[in-house]
């Protein structure tokens, strides 16, 4: 790493320093609990429980792959993946907890703002996996040890290379407003997807709502999850995606599908998805074992290699051929502001896009 160039971690540090600290209450933060080791006792207790339920917003094939690798590592524990968009997970947990239904063992959302609310509601138990204590930057850990940043990824522009020549491809968000893309764009929805919620906030903050107002006149195909626009590109259903997961495009591209990623010149929305263990987890030991596994170098490397995600774990290596984060101009994430403006963002959005 060149000394005059900031490293990946430093960039992320600068970009996200405020985020999780803001999430903490203003009083002096308690010291986080001691690191939770994966002891034989924990494994034994988890096996006795025999089950772990994971609410997650990561795309289903990635989630199931991680679940299978966890089951292989700890035979006797059945994983149940409950995947949906981050905003729907938030709704689901809210509904279930309001009726005293405590089904979730480990909770992950693609909208970091949810963790501010959940922390305020006091639903998490303090638990810091050993890997988090040793290998994750301080600013990616909740000061009270309630959660940490499990994954990081981008919401990008993309196009189908069979339908669009590289020279004609959009380079920026502004390019998407060109009449030539009328009826050719697909995008996710902030009412379902935490990624799109976060991205919509960052774009509207940096480019103004006029951008979305103009984009909505482009006859955009509206889908729900941020995992869907990349799939619609691969199908050839639309030529360009205005937002959606970088990691799905990595996966598709490396499988040989005709898709390409564009990092918009205005900056690319940065998404950080934390993970935590609720204090009412029905399988508390399996929950802690799973949380530890999710943050382990093994699982994080799998998420990078198979899933196309990026990791805060110090020992995890980027996959060659993918553009490193430090070379990408990023938009600044700000979960506290998303939390404050969530309703307004949804209202603005449905005013322009009618759904």
């Amino acid at each position: 790493m060149q000394p005059d160039k900031p490293g990946r971690r430093q960039i992320l540090k600068g970009l996200t320093a405020g985020a999780i600290v803001l999430a903490a209450p203003l009083r002096t933060a308690r010291a986080a609990p001691a690191a939770g080791k994966v002891t034989p006792d924990l494994i034994e207790a988890a096996k006795k429980e025999g089950k772990a339920v994971w609410y997650t917003a990561v795309d289903l094939p990635v989630a199931e792959r991680i679940a299978k690798s966890f089951e292989a590592k700890y035979p006797g524990i059945d994983m149940r993946v409950e995947r949906s968009g981050g905003e729907r997970i938030f709704q689901r947990v809210g509904q279930e907890y309001a009726s005293n239904i405590h089904a979730v063992d480990v909770l992950h959302s693609s909208d970091a703002a949810h963790f501010i609310v959940w922390k305020r509601d006091g639903i998490f138990a303090p638990y810091v996996p050993e890997d988090v204590a040793l290998h994750y930057p301080m600013e990616q850990r909740d000061p009270d040890g309630l959660f940490a940043s499990w994954r990081v990824w981008l919401s990008v522009i993309g196009y189908n290379t069979k339908l669009v020549k590289a020279a004609d491809a959009p380079k920026s968000f502004a390019d998407l407003l060109d009449p030539k893309w009328m009826g050719k764009i697909v995008k996710g929805h902030p009412g379902y997807s935490g990624t799109i919620m976060t991205a919509t906030f960052q774009i509207s903050r940096d480019l103004g709502w006029e951008y979305f107002e103009k984009l909505s006149r482009q006859k955009v195909m509206q889908v729900q999850s941020s995992a869907d626009p990349p799939k619609k590109l691969a199908l050839g259903e639309r030529a360009v995606m205005a937002d959606g997961n970088e990691y799905n495009l990595f996966q598709l591209k490396e499988k040989g599908e005709p898709v390409e990623i564009v990092y918009p010149t205005e900056g690319t929305p940065l998404i950080i998805g934390p993970s935590g263990v609720p204090k009412d987890a029905p399988h508390p030991n399996a929950a802690r074992l799973l949380q530890s596994y999710l943050f382990s170098a093994e699982a994080q490397q799998l998420m990078v290699d198979f899933g196309g995600l990026r990791s805060f774990h110090a020992q995890v290596k980027d996959k060659p051929g993918r553009k490193p984060l430090r070379e990408i101009k990023l938009m600044k994430d700000d979960p506290a502001a998303v939390e404050k403006n969530a309703d307004e963002i949804k209202a603005h959005y449905s005013k322009y896009f009618k759904v």
């Binding site: 993946v81 009726s99 195909m221 759904v355």
Partner: protein
């Protein structure tokens, strides 16, 4: 004769009435009561009309209302235009393969509308749709022939899966019209066509009107197909709007208020129907005359069949071909080739997708339980009412048919409001889904069995009573076996309806109580079309297997009525 109040032995009719009245009260009145209470409540508590004011002044509510009206009217018209001639051809003409056509209509009934909608995405998405690709490849143009992501596309898909209701009503009515009236017309010199035009068709008109009404109500209250197609098309219907009101922060009072118009429209239309038609239509129908006469189509026999098959390709052949293609090809938008064949999606669904087993189990348990409970409940209630066996049986009849007027999504909202807080919390258990399913299906089950009772002479039951059996024992040992075939048909009907139900389930499920329809709906969120195709086909296999087994039950199977006859 039926009411012999004082016999020396204890006859638990009073207790039976109380029990069933209480059960129906819980099933019907509780959720609807909560719906009404919430619709007129402010978020903070206290009565208000604000929810309705918002509903009828805010554009984001008015637009879906209008869209829903357009959708319901158009679908109803299309269903009648398609189903009436088909019903007539199948029932009253000498068209070949009539039974096969009935069977295929049945296949489109078994297909859940949300699955049909997804299949039509595969076929008619403007760019990746297989039909549009075919169109472009064959004409060299670069436009789209069909675009399923439009209101027209939605109307088309809804009609595909609603027309069986009209078809069944029309075909069954035509089946039952006795031949004597037609014979009379023929004897008086009317030709075959003239007889059809002057006698048969007018006699079938009430059934067609009833079909139009059912289609209208189905299209108005359907959630599945709009849930798939409306968002990409960029609009809401009332049902998708109601569903979106559960997004955070949930607005149950608005959802309740938005459900009430659907309920009111349904009640008004059903009242209007019975006021206009009354018994007029069916007074003639129902006699046991000779064989219905069939009209010779002559050289038009085969073209008529061709027309039927062409129509059936839209809800059945093309969608299932598209689902099969998606299930086994690498990318759903590619036509399956020898090299492109893959079992990856099947493996993913059955070996990796951890929700599959749970959803299959929940669906099967719920469908079996709901079909059994619903049929039994309907059996007893229709018996009590057909034989006027207890005081107040009219109240039971009313309660058993009342859910007809309650859209499934409104029922879902009502049950959610009733059972997510104390004293009884059922949310999060399979019970709340069971309640929803039994209640929603009760009217159809009741009506089928009630019709069966009316065709059954009370003599044999009287013989049993004279020989000393109690009423309940008579019901068990004499009446039920006689009703066997109808009972099986009713059971199958409820089973199928539960497996394909999404509207109420989408509101009532939790992660532990997920059913197959909800799992498919969730997979649609992230665009996992291949997995959906595999699960959809699994669903079809499951349904057909269970129906097949049910019809093999010794002594009861091999029967004609209801589903089997469709």
């Amino acid at each position: 004769m039926a009411l012999r109040a004082s016999t020396s032995r204890f006859d638990p009719s009073g207790a039976v009435f109380a029990l069933f009245a209480a059960a129906l009260f819980v099933l019907v009145v509780v959720p609807i009561g909560w719906l009404a209470v919430f619709a007129f409540s402010a978020r903070a508590g206290g009565p208000t009309l604000a929810n309705f004011r918002l509903l009828f002044t805010d554009r984001t509510f008015i637009d879906p209302l209008v869209t829903t009206f357009v959708l319901a009217v158009s679908s109803s018209l299309i269903c009648c235009l398609v189903a009436a001639p088909m019903g007539w051809l199948v029932s009253r003409s000498d068209m070949p393969l009539r039974r096969a056509v009935r069977f295929l209509v049945m296949a489109s009934f078994v297909t859940p509308p949300f699955l049909g909608a997804i299949a039509w995405e595969l076929l008619a998405a403007p760019n990746s749709g297989l039909l549009n690709q075919l169109h472009r490849a064959s004409t060299g143009r670069d436009d789209a022939l069909f675009d399923v992501y439009t209101l027209t596309g939605l109307i088309f898909v809804v009609s595909c899966y609603t027309f069986p209701y009209v078809f069944v009503l029309v075909a069954n009515a035509l089946d039952r019209i006795p031949s004597d009236l037609e014979d009379a017309s023929a004897m008086l010199g009317g030709g075959a066509w003239r007889t059809a035009r002057r006698v048969t068709i007018p006699l079938a008109l009430p059934a067609l009107a009833a079909g139009a009404l059912v289609a209208f109500l189905q299209a108005m209250t359907l959630f599945g197909a709009p849930g798939i197609l409306a968002l990409p098309a960029g609009f809401h219907t009332m049902t998708t709007k109601i569903w979106s009101l559960f997004q955070y922060p949930p607005k149950p009072e608005l959802a309740a208020a938005a459900s009430l118009p659907l309920l009111v429209v349904t009640v008004v239309l059903l009242r209007a129907q019975s006021a206009v038609l009354g018994r007029r239509g069916y007074a003639v129908v129902g006699g046991r005359g000779g064989q219905p006469r069939s009209v010779g189509l002559g050289p038009l026999r085969w073209p008529a069949l061709g027309l039927c098959l062409a129509i059936l390709s839209l809800p059945v052949f093309l969608p299932y071909a598209a689902l099969l293609n998606a299930a086994f090809s690498r990318i759903p938008s590619e036509l399956l080739t020898f090299g492109g064949f893959t079992l990856d999606h099947v493996r993913f669904v059955f070996l990796e997708l951890s929700a599959t087993r749970l959803a299959l189990k929940n669906t099967l348990v719920l469908a079996l339980l709901a079909a059994t409970l619903g049929s039994l409940l309907a059996l007893v209630i229709s018996w009590l009412s057909a034989r006027a066996a207890v005081r107040g049986h009219r109240l039971l009849t009313f309660l058993a048919t009342a859910p007809l007027a309650i859209p499934a999504i409104a029922m879902g909202v009502g049950l959610f409001l009733a059972y997510t807080r104390g004293p009884v919390v059922l949310y999060g258990t399979l019970w709340i889904l069971l309640l929803a399913y039994v209640t929603i299906q009760l009217p159809a089950a009741y009506q089928q069995l009630h019709a069966a009772f009316q065709a059954l002479s009370p003599e044999m039951e009287e013989a049993s009573r004279i020989l000393g059996a109690s009423r309940l024992r008579t019901l068990r040992d004499v009446t039920a076996p006689l009703l066997g075939p109808s009972l099986i048909a009713t059971w199958c009907f409820v089973f199928v309806a539960v497996v394909r139900e999404l509207s109420a389930a989408a509101i009532l499920f939790t992660s532990e109580t997920k059913v197959l329809s909800v799992l498919i709906f969730d997979l649609n969120e992230s665009g996992d079309l291949a997995a959906i195709a595999v699960l959809g086909l699994t669903m079809l296999v499951l349904t057909s297997t269970v129906i097949g087994i049910a019809n093999l039950v010794p002594g009861l199977g091999g029967a004609e009525p209801g589903l089997r006859r469709m």
